[in-house]
Amino acid sequence: MSGATRGLDLRLPIGGLFAVLGVIVGGYGLATAGDAALYERSLTINVNLWWGAVMLAFGALLLVLARRAPRGTVRPAEESPEGRATEAREKRSGLEK
């Protein structure tokens, strides 16, 4: 059974996605600030601007956490006691060669 590490820290794509979305939505909010007709729906709140900022902050936080994480923290099943025990069982019952 391959115990290869997954090769991708999930916080990177999620952080990246929200950072970019934050810039786009927040930037659009900046560009349209004061457009009363556009924000009439959202009770005159420039929801693009502040929610864009929230998304940007969330994305940036995940990116920082991913950068600071030690590499290779994912444990393959063989390293835990029950992983090894069940693997032995699996071989005995013929599920895995």
């Binding site: 115990g3 659009y28 069940t86």
Partner: protein, 588 residues
């Protein structure tokens, strides 16, 4: 395909499409980055059992958070009010705690590669095959039905072509699942989870402001309740009025609710459905697998605020669109006139509650985010179905009945073929649904009959060593038959004989369709439970030696591999249950 003549409700602008494009790029990018991790079939189907619990936990709820959940719970929010949260607090959390604490040791510990394979190890081949075939069929149809609903919604709302929206989402899901297998599906489910939260949280916040806070919402909804002949607080209290089916909008009394929804249906889904259990099986250790549903339960218990509140708010704001109520339009009959129910009240198109909220409250920019969140929920549901389908097909049907003893590469290749086939079949099912709506209703009914007794089989299999394969098989068949017979002999008030029941002659009338559904499930469960016990006692048990690791009394207690007491599944489970109880009291 069918296109409505009416103009779309809203037009997206360039910034909205840009948001959507960024999301597409992100999910495809995740698939691309993971293209090298799928070298064996275990990698492809089970993520090599190597994911940390927070990832599998969020994927656990996200795979279940399909478009039907987001749209459907909003619709139920408008129909039943806060009582809809019973689908979470009664209908999900207790079962999620149970599967994590008591059942995961057998799923994960037996090293079964799927839920049907556990049935094979514990019982026999025929029980496994019955479960595998019905499960595979069900995933395809539910994926198809949700695809159809989404295509129709986007056509109505945004004027997109039905064919194009189905083709684009099918191609994207196919690409990332083919590239990275289950890992890719799970990673994207976590990403989609965050997108759904970030897309809907500001909607709820704006909606609550528009409705004048909880007080404003309660005041307006008590008017609605009175107008519908219910007590004033019917929409804002989850438990008041549950004493009788006549005093709550759900139309069910507390016993049917707790036993039917909270026990039979909920445990049947969360504890035996491979779509969700597969996520936990991908975890990197037994402790991680057991913590998966418990971690999932934390956000799950708060989801009512995210998906149910928009529906309730939609009923309370906007001052009433022409013919409708709040911002929810009336459902139109074929001729274009509003539909009217038996009591003479206009039938609302409840499925539009949440989408109308997006359109009503989000300006360009945020609207793109909201629509993308809907798309994300749709894709996570579809990918969940497809990854569960390809695994069950390859391991439980192909490997055990069609081609045994091939190399691992052979099954990996088969898995990829099954992924393509699964998506194509779902697309076909979507078109069948759009042409023959009745066939889909019928199939859903059949699958409901098949599913209702499942938890009795698993509970007896895991906790009663005397139960046998013949017993399990007979119990499942009898339970399904009992469900069909009960459904055929009862009818909800106001429903007509046919797919809604009563086809064997109406012996009993339930106050609502939900009450009928819950009681059908109870009857199926009890029948399966009794028949399994009786037939088991009459047939030869398997020797204890073969059942080690598969049955509670023959399995050593799991030793938690954790660094501190806070990571223990039992501690987490206690926290989850106390919080859920508190939420129930809050909305008593």
């Amino acid at each position: 395909m069918e296109t409505t003549a009416a103009a779309p409700v809203v037009q997206l602008t360039a910034v909205d499409y840009l948001v959507m494009a960024v999301y597409f790029a992100a999910v495809l990018g995740v698939g691309w980055a993971l293209r090298r991790v799928t070298q064996t079939s275990t990698d492809f189907f089970l993520s090599g059992r190597s994911l940390p619990p927070w990832v599998t936990g969020l994927a656990f709820i996200s795979a279940n958070l399909g478009a039907q959940e987001v749209i459907g719970m909003g619709a139920s929010g408008a129909k039943y009010g806060i009582a809809t949260s019973h689908f979470y607090w009664i209908g999900a959390i207790p079962a999620m705690v149970f599967v994590g604490l008591f059942m995961m040791p057998f799923y994960y510990g037996s090293r079964a590669r799927s839920v049907p394979e556990y049935l094979k190890l514990r019982f026999d081949e025929k029980t496994r095959t019955l479960n595998a075939v019905t499960f595979a069929g069900m995933t395809i149809f539910s994926s198809g039905i949700s695809m159809y609903a989404m295509g129709k919604l986007f056509n109505l709302l945004l004027g997109w072509s039905f064919d194009v929206s189905i083709a684009v989402s099918a191609v994207i899901v196919l690409s990332y699942v083919l590239l990275g297998g289950l890992t890719s599906a799970i990673y994207n489910e976590v990403l989609q989870f965050f997108l759904i939260v970030f897309g809907f949280a500001p909607l709820v916040w704006l909606g609550m402001r528009a409705a004048g806070g909880w007080d404003g919402l309660s005041a307006r909804l008590s008017e609605v309740a009175t107008a519908r002949g219910l007590p004033e607080g019917a929409y804002t209290h989850a438990w008041q009025g549950m004493g009788s089916s006549a005093t709550n909008p759900v139309g069910v009394e507390w016993f049917g609710l707790v036993m039917g929804l909270g026990f039979v249906l909920s445990f049947g889904y969360w504890c035996t459905d491979f779509l969700v259990v597969q996520r936990a099986m991908a975890a990197d250790s037994m402790t991680a697998a057991r913590r998966t549903p418990l971690i999932a339960a934390l956000p799950k218990m708060l989801f009512p605020f995210l998906v149910i509140l928009p529906g309730m708010i939609a009923l309370a704001i906007g001052g009433g669109v022409a013919g409708g109520e709040g911002i929810i339009p009336a459902k139109l009959a074929a001729g274009g006139a509003p539909l009217v129910d038996a009591a003479g009240r206009v039938v609302l198109d409840y499925d539009l509650a949440t989408p109308m909220m997006l359109v009503h409250l989000f300006p360009a920019g945020m609207l793109g985010l909201g629509i993308t969140a809907l798309l994300a929920s749709f894709m996570s549901g579809m990918a969940g179905n497809v990854t569960a389908f390809n695994t069950v097909w390859t391991y439980d049907i192909y490997q055990s009945h069609i081609r045994r003893g091939e190399t691992d590469e052979h099954y990996l290749r088969m898995g990829r073929v099954a992924t393509v086939a699964g998506i194509l079949l779902s697309v076909a099912a979507a078109y069948v649904a759009s042409a023959f709506n009745n066939i889909m209703d019928l199939l859903q009914l059949v699958f409901a009959f098949v599913n209702a007794p499942l938890f009795a089989t698993f509970a007896l299999g895991m906790f009663w060593r005397r139960s046998t394969g013949h017993g399990a098989f007979a119990g499942l068949v009898a339970g399904t038959a009992a469900a069909a017979v009960h459904h055929g002999m009862t009818l909800a008030v106001g429903a007509s004989v046919g797919v809604k029941g009563g086809y064997f002659g109406v012996v009993h009338r339930y106050p609502s369709e939900l009450a009928q559904t819950f009681w059908t499930a109870i009857v199926a469960w009890v029948t399966c439970f009794v028949v399994t016990i009786v037939v088991s006692l009459a047939t030869r048990p398997r020797p204890a030696d073969e059942l080690r690791g598969l049955v509670y009394s023959l399995t050593p207690r799991a030793v938690d591999d954790v660094r501190s007491w806070r990571q223990r599944p039992a501690v987490l489970a206690a926290v989850v249950l106390v919080m859920t109880l508190a939420l129930n009291f809050l909305f008593l």
